[in-house]
Each structure stands twice: as C-alpha cells, then as structure tokens.
Symmetry: C2
Subunit: 330 residues, 2 copies
C-alpha cells in the first residue's frame, strides 16, 4: 500500500463566522441558549444580524478550523466543504488555501449564499452560534469526490454536517471509501443538539464498527450515553470505539484506547477571550499527535496547547505559530 497523499481529509460545513460581542441580557431577550449552536434560515439570520453589534468576519466551520490547526502543525491536509461563488465564498477558499490546505470542492453558484454563523461572544468568553447553512448544505456527490478519503490516513467528519441530507450522504460514501482503503474514520459529535437529533445514527455507526476515533465534550458524551457524569459517560462509550477522546473544558481531557488511557489538564492561559474553536483545535492537536505516533498523553497535550491558543483571541483559527508553541512535543 502506497503512503496516502494526505494525513487528514476533513469534511465539514464551510462557514464564515461573524463574531460580535453581546451581553447576557441580549441572549435572554433573543431566547438563545448560551454555548449552543442553532440552525437558522436566511430571514432569521438577517433579522438577528440587524440587532448585533459590529462584527469581525473570520473563516470558521468546525472541521475547517480543525484542518487549519492540522496544517499549522505541519500535516498534509485536504478539506471538503461547499461555498457559493460569492465574496464570502472567495474569502473562505482563500483562507483554506492560505493555510496550505487542498480545498477539494469548487465554489458553485445557484445554491444560495455561503454559510455564515452569527457568533455572540459574552463577557465570560462563551460563544453562542446562529448558523445559516445556505450553500454548505449543498456539499453533494457529483461536486465532491468521496474517493479522496481513500488517499488520507484519517477521514475526519464533523457531526454538524450530519444535519443536511446531501452532505450526510456524501460523508457516508467517504466513510466507505476510507474503510475500503484501510484508513481510519474519526467523528466529532459537535453539539448536544446534534446528538439529540442524530444520536441514534451515531450509536449505530459505533455498533457497526464504522468509527475508529470519536471526539466529544462532556455534554455531548452525556447526551450520547445517558450517563450522569463525565467519567461515567467515558466509561460507557470507551468500549464502543477503538479510540475515544473526551474533552472536559477547563478540567482537561481524557483519551482511551482499549486498556490504555491518558489524562491531561488544560493548559494555563493568560486571557480568555472567545472559546469558539476550542474543541476544533483540540481535535487538531490530538490528531496531529496521533498521525505522528506520539502516544495518547503527548497527543492530548498537543490538543490542549492548540485549544489554549485559539481561546485567547477572537476567531476559531490559530493566529500564533502552533509548531513553536508545541516545540517540546514535535
């Protein structure tokens, strides 16, 4: 078997983040659940945007953020996500390519506008996301070649993308291509509401042995298992997947591979600004360690370092040199 062209193929919603400060009263008035992601239509996006403060537009999307982190850590990365042929789509494509990532889905017209997520950052640095999917729901076979998954050591799937039907079908094909080629398949659960909507699907994928690596945070793992604590959820899920990576906010993270397990504390940070992308960059750091065979503990530490960088500034893509920050591990 020849070495695959890519270390990771990441598939996700291609979204430009619109990031603005907001206070708790604004969230209350809008009836928003702090820390969650909700899908909204274009009319609601326009209405809410009209009430938001001035914003910063920064490329985002969960798997896109992870891809950016992986590339910043020196991995060979391909990314699949659908943008429109509009200005925000051009910005998104630029930002992916500027990271040295192969963007394997061409921008297209006639499928609505490029996705945006209106992200409200409260003074406690929590983010509340309001996502208009637009064009990114149209990632579909015919415009995306799932066989690329056969040419990547790891296929990384974003749980959020399980919502829209066409991308879900495309991801299922990519999983099959990866499996046929003997590659690994990773999934991140993304959000408790995603687990509420698609937990049955995800549990079936686990039961059928179609997932090699599962990423989730405390709330997502509890939603998946019905367990009442982080530790209980980890114990319940670990036997169902070859490698479980469970993040626990400022309490750190745990990884379990069979009888092997490791735990790290969160990295200390100077200035918590915006938690958007914390999980995405944790996944990037962990996978970078996994691809390099660093072992569970070092991979978790790499995840914690990448997550710590991204929560100290607005936006969910790394700004500092991650390789330099993690130089003792790489």
């Amino acid at each position: 078997m020849t070495a695959p062209r890519y270390d990771v193929l990441a598939i996700g919603n291609a979204i430009v983040d619109v990031i603005a400060d907001a206070d708790d009263a604004f969230l209350s008035a809008e009836g928003l659940v702090k820390g969650s992601m909700r899908l909204i239509d274009e009319a609601e996006s326009t209405r809410l945007y009209g009430r938001m403060k001035a914003g910063r537009e920064i490329s985002g999307g969960s798997a896109g953020n992870t891809a950016a982190g992986l590339a910043a850590l020196g991995l060979k990365v391909a990314y699949a996500g659908q943008v429109a042929d509009d200005q925000l789509g051009a910005i998104y494509a630029h930002d992916i390519k500027a990271q040295g990532i192969d963007f394997i889905v061409a921008p297209r017209g006639g499928i609505g506008a490029t996705a945006t997520s209106l992200i409200l950052v409260t003074p406690d640095a929590q983010r509340t996301m309001n996502t208009f999917l637009g064009a990114t729901q149209r990632l579909e076979l015919g415009h995306f070649d799932p066989s690329v998954a056969a040419d990547a050591s790891i296929l990384y799937l974003e749980g959020y993308l399980w919502d829209p039907e066409l991308p879900r079908a495309a991801m299922v094909e990519a999983m099959a291509a990866a499996r046929s080629a003997g590659r690994k398949v990773a999934l991140t659960l993304s959000d408790t509401f995603v687990v509420d909507r698609h937990g049955d699907d995800f549990r079936r994928l686990l039961d059928e042995g179609r997932l090699d690596i599962l990423f989730g945070n405390e709330a997502e793992l509890i939603a998946m298992t019905g367990a009442s604590t982080f530790d209980a959820a980890v114990e319940a899920l670990a036997p169902k997947v070859p490698l479980l990576v469970a993040t626990h906010g400022d309490q750190g993270a745990v990884a379990v591979r069979g009888t092997e397990r490791a735990r790290v504390a969160a990295e200390p940070i100077a200035d918590l600004v915006d938690t958007t992308g914390a999980g995405d960059l944790f996944a990037a750091g962990f996978l970078a360690g996994e691809v390099r065979g660093l072992g569970l503990e070092a991979s978790l530490r790499l995840g914690a370092i990448a997550a710590a960088e991204v929560i100290q500034h607005y936006g969910a893509r790394p700004e500092q040199d991650l390789k330099a920050l993690a130089s003792d591990l790489l």
Copy 2:
C-alpha cells in the same frame, strides 16, 4: 440657529479591511513600503490576496473608523461613503449602523465591488495597506446629499478620498454647505503619498481659509511644509489653520489654536498588535473632546486614549468601551 442634528458628518472611503500577518521579507519581495497606503486595481488586489496568509475581515476606512470612535464616545454621527450592493457592502453598512451611526449613502449596484484594503501587519505591528477602491470611488453627487453637512457641527474629511474625482467634487460641495451654515470643516492628511499628490490642493484650501481643523502625523506635516522636523512643521503650519492637531507616534501629540497650545504623551500600552487606525481613533478622541468643549489638553488626552485602545488588537475600530476608558475626562 437651531442646534445641528449631528455633532460630526464624516466622509471617507468605505473599505472592508482584510488583515493578515506578514513578515518583512514578504514586504520586500512585493516591493512594498512599510507603513504606507497604495492604491491598486482589482487584478493586483486578486494577485496579492492570493499570496497573503489567512485574513480577518473587519470594517475600516479612515473616516469610518473615526466615525465609529466618535459614536463610541457618545457623539451623534453621520457617515458618508459608497459601498456596492454586495456581501462586503452589507457588512460595512451593518457595522456602521451597529455603532449607532446614520449611514447616509445607500449601497448601489453597477459600480464595481465594495472597496477592500489588503492590510499586511508585520511583527513590529506596523501596517502596510493595499487598497482597491472599487465602488467607493463612486461616492458622487446625486447619490450623496452634501447639504447634510449644514446639519453637523463639524464636517470631517478624509484626505485619502481626495484621490478619486467624483468623491472629491462631492466633498467640495459638502465643504461649501458646511461653510454657508457656519459649521467647521476638518481635514486629515491621511498619508504622505496623498500629500505628495494633493498637497497643492490642501495648501490652497488652507490659504483660502476653508479649513478650520487640520490633522496630520509627523511625516504628513513634513511633506506638507518641507520642514525637516516635526516641531518645525508644526510651527510652519500652525499659523495657516485655526486649529492644528499634530500626532507624533509614540511621542504623543500637539494641538495649536492661535496662541494656545497643548502637548500630551502617548498613553502607555500593554501589548502593541496592529497600528491600523491609530490616527483615525486619535482624531475621534480629539474631536469628541472638541465638540464637548473640553479644551486642547483634555481633547488630546482623549485622542491618545482612543488611539491606544485600537492599536492593542487587530482591526481599526474600537473593541473596548471607550467611554469607560476615558471616564475621568467625560
């Protein structure tokens, strides 16, 4: 005379900044003059963007930044700048309105894309700007009502906008409307290259008594006067304008009104990140003090506080609460 509706009407290039980190070697390879602004066409903008790192898109434009600072300091502000009816134009309009500013020029189609400035921020926090004017060159009479200037205590003009012909004609009409109504007219010189191109015009405006307030930094004032030092340039220009406000980088700033003069040091800062907008926000702070009758020294201090805030983060619009930062003055 009834009180005017606005404290300030600001007119300038309506530009979305595309902000990316770059090193000195990149500037050299591209033949760029650090710290300057150059005008580029759409082809060059596309070419350079393709070579830049991943960016952050944040509304900018010199007078737009000043307007944002004025509004953040509690003033009643109107802004005139032309955007296209595209996604970046909608973002620009949103960000102006979200500051509580009246945006008095409607987005339009058929005039090219909304202006963008590719801003390269080097590790020394200097910014080098590459601006594609696009739609903003089409700020013109018929789509902009210069008589609004009669309803603002101060008309604030951006020197950069003296480059394109139609906006220059619109600004001349606005100056006449302001003068007829007994309002004050302020001009910022914007850039040494602007002074190189239009110094004769600016000196004529001064000689004809059509400017009440002039803003410039060291290099611009030297370019205007041919003097060899900051102090000599201030002495040469001060007699030619009722109020001169001269900024001197990290050495502070000077204001001269007839025989009255004041000088302040720069505010101490913790973390210099991106100097884009320093002059724009200095002007905002100073004008806010001037409108409130605080006197030269307090107005300069307000300028220094606003400038210090904006250079400690990416983007040229204030992120912190300027009123709170300047609470001892307001």
